[in-house]
């Protein structure tokens, strides 16, 4: 499975300043005005891993109802990716900080 193939496809071009944020330690390029979910899913196949089985998840309803697209901030906070704008300098993770260490 290729983690970096985007799930979403950009069908319409975007104007606006390019910004960079970080996801799981990698730089992600995005445009100002873009949702965090679209910014991540045009470049990756998932947003987070389930707390139970660890399976990948990529959101579901895309309108703030199903709560499936929350990603972690580096400080342990959580952001709902479909209703949050991508912002320059965000540092985000698919799992809570510390999980990698716990799972070895």
């Amino acid at each position: 499975m290729d983690d970096h193939a985007g799930q979403f496809v950009r069908a319409v071009s975007r104007q606006g300043p390019r910004i960079t944020l970080q996801f799981d330690g990698e730089a992600v390029e995005a445009s100002e005005g873009e949702s965090l979910l679209a910014a991540l899913l045009t470049q990756r196949s998932f947003l987070r891993r389930s707390e139970f089985g660890g399976e990948p998840r990529a959101g579901f309803c895309l309108m703030g109802a199903c709560q499936d697209c929350w990603v972690w901030s580096d400080t342990g906070g959580r952001l709902r990716a479909c209703t949050t704008d991508a912002t320059a300098g965000m540092v985000l993770r698919s799992q809570p900080p510390g999980v990698d260490a716990l799972r070895g």
Binding site: M1, E34, F60, C61, L62, C66, R80
Partner: protein
């Protein structure tokens, strides 16, 4: 003497905008609270800033209404207290609890108009939690709001007139549609034709989307049974049984799933509305009179009150505002009110016809295999519900099933799994859907940070 009633409208879609507009026209200062970044709701959603999207082309026959609503909202804006990106997470004692950008606040009201809209109604099946499966409404939001397709090769599955519409929008923007698969048999569509013929224009539009897809060589199937989403870590295929029972595999990288709409009733319930099980939609719907009165000071409008679509939302928003005015002792235009009532009754009647033509697949859901995931928040499989019910539940009630299994107890509060859980519980117990009971709404109706809740007085 100027009227000083505190009037709050929640939701800035067609229903909320219409209600606000009419109240403003009578000189009221209205607070319009909306969770979205921009007004319009889900159906008339604005593209995010910087997106070179030709919305008129995408909206097609509805482009005029879309532009008109946004133009009216722009004129309204200077007259109202508009609060976008604000979540109402609780209602008690004529007070709303809000969170905006992590900061909590409260808002008193004398009259509350709830125009909270709807989300997709979902029937789960095996593999539906894989990345690449999204709601049908979500597939349209990705397009309108972000200019993105949910995948390169998309399967449209469920039972909804919006399957063909969304598929047409995807094809227009370069997406490949691998199949439009509807669980309702073709005979079911024919049986609903007399009801649908009440709106020939809508019927014709629906048929033309389907016709366009078929001319382009897209397989259009009726009476299918979803079997499984194939794939390791992401969607690779949709596997279904066609109406003859043959298993068919459609390679794809995304699936848009939808079985019509489900009102967002949580706030209405917390504000005191009574809910009743509706056999046509097989959903618990809030009870209100023809103008939207649900309880003293509580008015409901739009798809959050009863599924009716954007035109019904506009009409019901106007009616709710008139009800507020009448209850405040202000004069209302009786002729306009009667015309709106007739229009709304007709539009919602049409939607009931649609609910038959695009049926909620009760038998398919009740027959789902034990391994299929039901609750995507808490990862509860259908077998766990059946097992718990067989062993220890005693008198069957859906909230008891939730307490025992955690199904419906996760972050979405059963918004997604609730209707299917209702069928699974009723099926396993051998009772009518209504007798299984109803998942209760709880505050906060969506997750909020504990620190934000703590700041509320």
């Amino acid at each position: 003497m100027p009227c000083v009633a505190e009037i709050v409208v929640v939701g800035a879609g067609p229903a909320g905008i219409n209600a606000t507009e009419r109240l403003c026209a009578h000189g009221h200062r209205v607070v319009l609270v909306d969770e979205g970044r921009q007004a319009g709701g889900q159906g008339y959603r604005r593209a995010s800033p910087g997106l070179a999207l030709d919305m008129a082309a995408l909206m097609g026959t509805e482009a005029g209404k879309y532009e008109a609503l946004h133009a009216r909202f722009a004129r309204l804006l200077p007259q109202i207290d508009y609060r976008p990106q604000t979540l109402v997470w609780a209602v008690e004692d004529r007070t709303l609890h809000l969170v905006q950008a992590g900061v909590a606040a409260t808002l008193r009201f004398d009259a509350l108009v709830l125009a909270t809209g709807a989300m997709d109604k979902i029937a789960p099946f095996q593999g539906w939690t894989l990345p690449g499966v999204f709601t049908l409404g979500g597939a349209q939001v990705a397009l309108k709001d972000q200019g993105c397709l949910i995948g390169r090769r998309v399967a449209f599955l469920g039972s909804s007139p919006l399957l063909a519409l969304a598929a047409a929008q995807y094809r227009k923007l370069g997406g490949e549609v691998v199949v439009i698969a509807d669980t309702t048999p073709f005979a079911g569509k024919l049986a609903a034709l007399p009801a649908l013929a009440r709106s020939p224009r809508t019927l014709w539009r629906g048929l033309s989307y389907l016709g366009g897809a078929m001319l382009a060589g897209v397989p259009v199937l009726h009476g299918v049974t979803p079997v499984e989403v194939g794939g390791d870590g992401h969607v690779e295929a949709l596997i279904l049984r066609d109406r003859r029972g043959r298993e068919r595999r459609f390679p794809c990288d995304a699936i848009a799933l939808g079985y019509g709409l489900k009102p967002e009733t949580q706030l209405a319930e917390l504000a005191g509305a009574t809910l009743r099980f509706d056999e046509a939609f097989r959903l618990w719907l809030p009870q209100c009179d023809a103008d939207g009165r649900a309880a003293p000071g509580l008015y409901l409008a739009g798809d959050g009150a009863a599924i009716g679509g954007a035109d019904a939302a506009e009409a019901s928003g106007g009616l709710a505002a008139m009800a507020v005015l009448a209850d405040l002792g202000e004069p209302v235009d009786e002729r306009a009110r009667l015309a709106l009532r007739r229009r709304l009754a007709w539009l919602r009647g049409f939607q009931k016809g649609l609910a038959r033509a695009f049926a909620w697949p009760v038998a398919q859901i009740r027959a789902l295999p034990d391994e299929a995931m039901l609750c995507r928040c808490e990862e509860i499989r259908i077998g766990e519900i059946r097992q718990a019910m067989a062993q220890q539940l005693g008198p069957v009630e859906i909230n008891r099933v939730k307490a025992m299994t955690r199904c419906g107890m996760g972050r979405c509060q059963g918004r997604v799994c609730g209707p299917a859980l209702q069928e699974i519980v009723a099926g396993a117990a051998g009772i009518a859907g209504e007798q299984a009971g109803r998942l209760r709404a709880q505050a906060p109706i969506k997750p909020i940070a504990l620190c934000a809740a703590g700041e509320a007085p």
